[in-house]
Amino acid sequence: MTPVALVLWCIAVLLGVSILAVMMARWSRATAVIYGASFCVSAVAFVTVLLQLTAASASAPLPLVLPLGLPWLGAHFRLDALAAFFLVVINLGGAAASFYGLGYGRHETAPQRLLPFFPAFLAGMNLVILAADAFTFLLSWEFMSLVSWALVMTHHRERDTRMAAYIYLVMASFGTMALLLAFGLLAGASGSYDFATMRMATHTPAVAAFVLTLMLIGAGSKAGLVPLHVWLPLAHPAAPSHVSALMSGVMTKVAIYGFIRVVFDLLGEPAWWWSMVVLTLGGVTAVVGILNALMEQDLKRLLAYSTIENIGIIFVSLGLALAFEANAMTWAAALALAAALFHVLNHSFFKSLLFFGAGAILTATGERDMDKLGGLIHRMPFTSFAFLVGSVAISALPPFNGFVSEWLVFQAILQSPNLPQWGLKIMVPAVGGLLALSAALAAACFVKAFGVAFLGRPRTLAAQLAQEVDRFSLTAMFVFATLCLFAGVLPGIVIDALAPVTFTLVGDRMPVQTSVPWLSIVPITESRSSYNGLLVFVFIALSASLAAYIVHRFASRSLRRAPAWDCGFPEASPQTQYTSGSFAQPVRRVFGTHLFRARESVEMPAPGDPEPARFTLDLRDLIWEGLYEPIAGAVWFTAERLNHLQFLTIRRYLSLVFLALVFLLLVLALWS
């Protein structure tokens, strides 16, 4: 059986599992069965595509056509290197989320709302990647969106969830509409929706630019590109945590896949100015996303905002790849694209890990609000260790994987002087500055997340009584933690696995990494720059243990516990610790005054008055106020105006229909 067929069978089984889930909704063991089945199927699919990616046959794989969908078209499925890479990401994430669900799902109050949709969601994402014609692609895309919407609605009794799901639905439909138009333009006059035919077609610059814009809207809204990101921090956290992990860690990657597939594969030669647009959007997305994350005190929303930041980083490197490709600098384009794909992989690792961690906290304490947590490192040592690994990795610190991909992006940025366009030459380092800023802010953000939630003293009773979570959840977290370290220490292996993908898309690859001595990685040549995660890791581990050993062996080993220094004024309550809001205050003072119109006001009671002092903080989301509220207002206004159409007589309705018909006929008459 060919790999494509095998993956399709897996998808079919997943869909079967979801039907099964509907049937045994009330059965108490359903959770274990469904998640177990999803796990097995995802694992099979994962192994299949991983083998396919590493085997990397030189010949282009042929599409598999099934007699489904449109009768004259059929459903095309194809598994090339790009699809294989993204399927690896999806099925790894899917398998881990299912495994995590084995433990986490037991605490679900209404599993029948969740179980049927979970395998269907996995199947939908797989289908989008496999699709090789526009019809199947759009259908699977919409299927994926709708199923994920249903997953967001799991806890539909909460008002916030309903609001989030509503906004998500609106944005998703809007995005699909943009994609529909984009594919319509791509199909053009030939009218063939098959990807292979689309690839052959040539487009005028105006049409190509229009397709790019539509893709930025369609795929960008799914991925969370600013300013289309508003739904993401609402919808992702509203779902159960393993679904949040899938949505943030994996579904956004499906959107990236859509963008890469169309812009790099189907659209033909890029124009250089496209990259300016993509770079700007990416840079702004990264900074806005992470600043929002820093202001957040809900742990899951913080993670969702940080997803937006990472999407920004990925788009920046995609923009770089476009710039280099447009100027026929294929080696640099390969570098930038490899950086983007590497970051896709990394982000799926650590974001899933972090959402699993947030889910573990939710199980243990019932809280998402960081200001009600604290001290969990004592109660949940394993979870906190895994979360720490994820935090270090996402903050782009060596020797973990986040650093490697960001390092590759920086290396790609340093190729910019070779670009002929002055605008790009100057813009690329500026975007590099934005990226550096967002990396530094990400570190601050995750110091805050880990520090407030896990360190210090417990702020509430719930945090005080937290228990370590079950083994399934822990295993899922530790798998990802190991992968984070592995990809950070031995990045050469990952980069080599990406080579077929970059080769098919931009016609070049990065130098073979596994042949470099000492397992370093080199972006172009060794004289320019190289990085060796393994040695850095070994050096740090060695010198830390050496230092610890020498100190403990030859100097003092004694230890005494005592109360912390309180400056002579004992703080009775753990409430006096730094909270997430107070931790972010300096950064808010620096950046927030303009970006969020942050206003702080302190009301002090009169002397002698026993009233408590009050501190209020006012943050405003300018993107929401500036872009979405006017649109919503306009829609509301039009709806009000149109409302009176509802109260017309039959005769008037008929005349409306008649007029419309005449108008259409007139258009037809005058057009041709």
Binding site: W422, G423, I426, M427, A430, T593, H594
Partner: protein, 221 residues
């Protein structure tokens, strides 16, 4: 032209841009004036170096004018004026320092792109001189836009003029007469503005130009 002459010219012109940024950063009138004096001094050096490189003696005259008028007389006069007006405290900037800096960066990037694209064929020295000069002019305008105080607006205007002089010296062959007339027109403008300042103050008790706006508003109503 060998490397060193270019390097020094480059250094001086780049220094001028840097001093323009430092002017943007200042929030006190006296330090702003000192920065302006420094600005003019760097300009003098730059012009003198150009004179030496191009072997154009008339540029020495320009340099001397810049040194005497802009680096010495005008700052000293403004110092005295500020003291007499009693406004040596802070300048109220319209926007904060951070956004102003960012705007400045964007302006420099813009002028680089424009100038380097337009002057692809020109000789490298003139090219970078022009690029720097445009940045200085734009930054001078930015100083004028972001300040409310009339004195700092004058300073912004003069730094703008320094940028023009830099462009003129880089472009080889601008006649001396033009330069002298430019310099004198600036001087006259300076005197006129100075007189105006005192008039404004007598009338409104402040040199904040918002007062003028208020006045305009009242008249219309």
């Amino acid at each position: 032209m060998n490397g060193l002459t270019f390097d020094i010219a480059h250094l001086l012109a780049g220094g001028l841009v840097l001093v323009s940024f430092m002017m943007l950063y200042q929030d006190r009138l006296y330090s702003l004036l000192n920065m302006f004096a420094l600005h003019s001094l760097v300009l003098t050096l730059s012009v003198a170096w150009q004179a030496y490189v191009q072997q154009a003696p008339h540029l020495y005259v320009t340099a001397t004018i810049a040194l005497v008028f802009k680096a010495i007389i005008i700052p000293v006069a403004l110092h005295r004026m500020i003291r007499r007006l009693g406004i040596h405290r802070e300048i109220e900037t319209v926007v904060g320092i951070g956004p102003t800096m960012f705007a400045g960066m964007a302006l420099v990037a813009l002028s680089m792109v424009v100038m380097l694209r337009v002057t692809q064929a020109a000789d490298p020295l003139a090219r970078e001189d022009l690029a720097f000069a445009l940045s200085v002019v734009l930054l001078g305008l930015l100083v004028m836009v972001t300040r409310r105080n009339a004195v700092s607006q004058i300073v912004g205007f003069m730094s703008l003029e320094n940028g023009l002089v830099l462009a003129a010296t880089g472009a080889k062959g601008m006649p001396l007469v033009v330069e002298i007339s430019v310099a004198f027109s600036i001087l006259i403008a300076f005197i006129v503005i100075g007189v105006f300042l005192f008039r404004i103050r007598e009338r409104f008790d402040t040199v904040d130009v918002r007062a003028l706006d208020d006045f305009k508003g009242k008249r219309r109503r």
